[in-house]
């Protein structure tokens, strides 16, 4: 979304306000440092978090760095819980997205100990090693700390016409379209996507090439292409979308998308199935 900047309360560079803000920033940085340095005695049961920090506006954070936080461990603690604890007790400027806490909103896909995972779905007890290392999703621009820019991901999702379209709709308000339980089962896994972006972030092809639709968008396309309610004509149209240059053919079956998907969607399988479908539908014209 491009919007023009309206500078309201930060006009000239050297206003008293700016000075105060700068001082405040310096103090905040100091406090952070103290918080990071001070190692309160938390006993054996403490988690060490190493968190990526970056903020273009705050001098101390303009050059990315890692901060360390020690958090008392509690049974059942997730990485998200630990991040919240770090934020609420040590440094309220620690920034990350979160909402549902139950793996349905897709807000908190992060790079945790070298792998894309949802913070809320990752039990600290299940992680190996003493240190939990949390970084923003790779291959996306970092806006601040753990927050990445998701616009490109959304654009790709929306590029596959991610909405139901059908050859004919029922005339009556109360008339449903039929769908066999088998067909529903077929699309079931693909409908589970929560738009977290983990798969896109893990795919090397998507990383090297922004034009590639990526696993999530292709899976979305699969969800509709395989839905028998859409009808034959629509399916042809769907296949055209999928077969475009930046669609399925770019996938090199790396499987990392499938490995990281928090909803266990068999992404590679879906992509491969679409490749075969595409070949089949092309063969007809030969």
């Amino acid at each position: 979304m491009s919007t023009q900047h309206e500078h309201t309360d930060d006009g000239e560079p050297e206003t008293p306000g700016d000075r105060r803000r700068a001082e405040k920033a310096a103090r905040a940085a100091e406090r952070e440092q103290e918080a990071a340095d001070a190692e309160p005695d938390l006993g054996d049961d403490a988690v060490t978090l190493k968190v990526f920090r970056y903020d273009p506006e705050v001098e101390a954070k303009a050059e990315p760095r890692f901060d360390t936080f020690r958090i008392p461990f509690e049974k059942g603690m997730t990485v998200l819980d630990a991040l919240i604890a770090a934020r609420d007790t040590y440094d309220s400027s620690l920034t990350f997205r979160h909402s549902c806490r139950q793996a349905v909103c897709g807000s908190d896909a992060l790079f945790i100990n070298g792998r894309q995972r949802l913070g809320c779905q990752t039990q600290i007890a299940d992680l190996e090693g003493d240190v939990v290392r949390v970084e923003p999703l790779p291959h996306q621009d970092v806006v601040k700390d753990l927050v990445v820019d998701m616009e490109h991901f959304y654009d790709q999702m929306e590029a596959v016409e991610p909405y139901f379209q059908t050859d004919e709709t029922p005339d009556d308000d109360l008339e449903e379209q039929f769908q066999t339980p088998e067909n529903r089962e077929k699309i079931k896994m693909s409908t589970r996507c929560i738009w977290c972006g983990a798969c896109m972030s893990s795919c090397n092809i998507a990383a090297g090439d922004n034009a590639y639709l990526g696993p999530a968008a292709i899976n979305k396309a699969y969800r509709f292409a395989m839905d028998e309610r859409e009808g034959e004509n629509m399916k042809e149209h769907r296949m055209e979308l999928i077969e475009q240059e930046n669609g399925v053919w770019r996938c090199q079956t790396q499987f990392s998308c499938t490995n990281v998907c928090p909803k266990d969607i068999p992404l590679t399988e879906h992509i491969q199935e679409l490749k075969r479908e595409a070949v089949k539908s092309n063969l007809k014209f030969w």
Partner: protein, 627 residues
């Protein structure tokens, strides 16, 4: 300033449906939402959507069940609108491609749910809300409706006539979280609030961290009365460590609750001899806590919900998501062991007072979804009645705001001749009144257009009454507030204030409510309010400053928590979810009325309005509610 016909605040199920309806009725619509639409908490709903679709079922029965479930605190015109239009809306969702579970013959599946006389809960696995949310968002994408995501609405731009009924809402003020800029949004025809739940005033809740009751608080401060706030639903089956919900669908499919003695408590201890586990939620929640209180709880905290006997195939088919939730968030394999469950805050029946079209008493302001109170749920919401509410009232408000409806509403809004003045029940002052503070100017966000302190130069009066002026003034007021918060040197962190509120609410305003405890809670909230006067935002950045957002949210949580507690103290009877230790019976003579709370520019006042039990062509007679 941006300008649209209709502005929808919030993009959960209710907001999305409203936006689609308004756009279909020809309006130029924009959605402003603090989360990207698919991150809204509607996505967490599991169980299903109640709709009388089948042969043998009838929307009148659904209406009756809903009324009974509400313990006769629902307003009949709203209840009937919900139940009459739910089938159409549900099928509409199907026609938009929603992946409902299917029966062998290809029709959408339905299952039994608590408090229903017919298995009419239409579902999509145990992730109905996820499918509903995504399906609606897809339609929004299809229609090209403009969405401002990660824009936080901080204030409504409402004129400042003395009586709320005379005020107009001309738009909203929003803070672009990514850029850190405040902008005005002018709505030519209407603003629709759809900001969802308020579970974050409690610490054990099924609600998302973003559910802080923003819409309720903003409307309240803009003068709109809020209704039945004390009616909070506690869901009987949430996971003890996190509050993550285990759907009622588990009991709907035949799951059984056991206490530590291995007894099927609902029957063996006589809590609900007919419906057992499928009794209404309030009944089951109290039963569980009772078992724990009497020493039959497990680890003195929870009971067991067992679904193993349903068999792996059925569980995988209909409740697979539950297995993942129990595994990921409690480390329990639902196929092998019973799942630990205890009650947790789940839903707010009360909210912004509206009529059956979603209109509030302020002109041009609507509220739908969980933040609104039409009221369809009265004192207790039936499982599976919230999702249809989103669709039905979202669509109604959207159409109404776009000017497509000219029905006379049956439900009145605002103060009228049937209203009744209430007595002050609080031992401490409420609201903003008498708060000693230097910060008062900037923090006393009245929600109305007059800027609290800065730049009240009077001269712009004529200009200010024009819609653009009202929005502009609201924008100025918010700039002042944000500026103040970012500039303030030392102070307390919002997280401490929030934690204090959550703690006292969970301790004192929970399932079981006692007069003394409620008064304590009010005192605690008062203290938290005072603390909040010293709140500061440590993060100086304009980029994605969540510290700032949470600080503003905490202010909303404070107002909402206070409202819940005041209502709970005022209503000295036992109705639906609202249990009072000293008052163990439903008092129909006295209390067939809604608790209303008005902000009155900072010193809240209680009043009441009668329940509407007159339906389209029948009247709902209060009966004893037994399951």
């Amino acid at each position: 300033m941006r300008e649209y016909d209709v502005i929808v605040v919030g993009a959960g199920g209710a907001g999305l449906r409203a936006a689609i309806a308004a756009q279909e009725a020809g309006a130029d619509v924009a959605m402003v939402t603090k989360l990207h639409p698919v991150r809204s908490h509607t996505g967490a709903a599991e169980g299903g959507i109640n709709a009388a679709l089948r042969e043998g079922d009838d929307w009148h029965d659904h209406a009756y069940d809903t009324m009974k479930g509400s313990d006769y605190l629902g307003d009949a015109p709203a209840v009937e609108a919900l139940t009459r239009e739910s089938p159409k809306e549900t099928i509409q969702l199907e026609n938009w491609g929603m992946a409902f579970s299917r029966d062998e013959d290809g029709v959408v599946s339905q299952r039994p749910f608590g408090g229903l006389s017919f298995p009419r809960t239409t579902y999509a696995g145990a992730e109905t809300g996820h499918h509903m949310l995504h399906t609606m968002y897809e339609q929004v994408v299809k229609r090209g409706i403009e969405v401002y995501d990660e824009w936080y609405v901080t204030r409504l731009a409402v004129t400042d006539e003395d009586e709320p009924e005379e005020r107009d809402c001309h738009g909203v003020v929003a803070y672009d979280i990514k850029r850190g800029e405040i902008e005005g949004f002018r709505a030519r025809d209407g603003v629709i609030l759809a900001t969802g739940g308020l579970g974050q005033v409690y610490d054990h809740t099924t609600n998302a961290i973003a559910n802080t009751g923003d819409g309720v608080a903003m409307a309240y401060r803009a003068g709109v009365p809020i209704e039945d706030m004390e009616m909070i639903q506690f869901h009987p089956t949430t996971l003890p460590t996190t509050g993550v919900l285990i759907s009622e669908g588990v009991r709907g499919e035949g799951g059984i609750l056991y206490n530590s003695e291995g007894e099927r408590l609902m029957f063996e201890h006589g809590y609900a001899n007919n419906d057992g586990e499928l009794a209404s939620r309030d009944v089951v929640a109290r039963a569980e806590l009772n078992e724990v209180a009497e020493g039959r709880g497990i680890e003195d905290e929870y009971v067991h919900l067992d679904m193993r006997h349903l068999g792996e195939e059925r569980i995988l088919d209909r409740l697979e998501n539950i297995l993942h939730l129990a595994e990921d968030f409690e480390g329990v394999d639902g196929l092998e062991e019973p799942m630990p469950v205890k009650p947790g805050q789940h839903y707010a029946m009360g909210g912004v007072e509206t009529n059956e079209w979603g209109s509030t008493c302020v002109n041009g302001l609507y509220a739908v979804g969980e933040c609104a109170c039409a009221s369809v749920h009265g004192a207790n919401r039936l499982g599976g009645n919230a999702l249809p509410e989103l669709a039905v009232f979202g669509a109604r408000a959207g159409r109404h705001a776009a000017g497509d409806v000219d029905d006379e509403p049956e439900i009145t809004t605002g103060w009228d001749e049937d209203s009744e003045e209430g007595e002050n029940v609080s031992p401490v002052p409420l609201g903003e009144a008498d708060l000693p503070s230097a910060a008062k100017g900037a923090l006393a966000d009245g929600g109305r257009s007059s800027p609290p302190s800065a730049g009240a130069d009077g001269g712009a009066a004529a200009e200010a009454s024009a819609p653009e002026g009202v929005v502009e003034e609201a924008v100025q007021a918010e700039r002042t507030r944000v500026h103040y918060l970012l500039e303030k040197e030392e102070g307390v962190n919002h997280a401490e204030v929030r934690a204090d509120v959550q703690e006292t609410m969970t301790e004192n305003v929970n399932v079981f409510r006692e007069e003394g405890a409620l008064e304590d809670a009010l005192a605690d909230i008062r203290e938290a309010r005072q603390e909040y006067q010293h709140v500061t935002v440590e993060d100086p950045s304009r980029t994605y400053n969540t510290d700032l957002i949470h600080t503003i949210e905490t202010r909303n949580a404070l107002d909402v928590a206070e409202a819940i507690t005041v209502g709970a103290l005022a209503r000295d009877e036992f109705r639906g979810a609202h249990w009072r230790k000293e008052h163990q019976e439903r008092k129909d003579d006295e209390w067939l009325k809604h608790t209303m709370l008005s902000w009155n520019d900072g010193s809240p006042g209680l009043w009441y309005k009668p329940v509407v039990l007159e339906g389209e062509n029948k009247s709902y007679e209060p009966k004893e509610r037994s399951y």
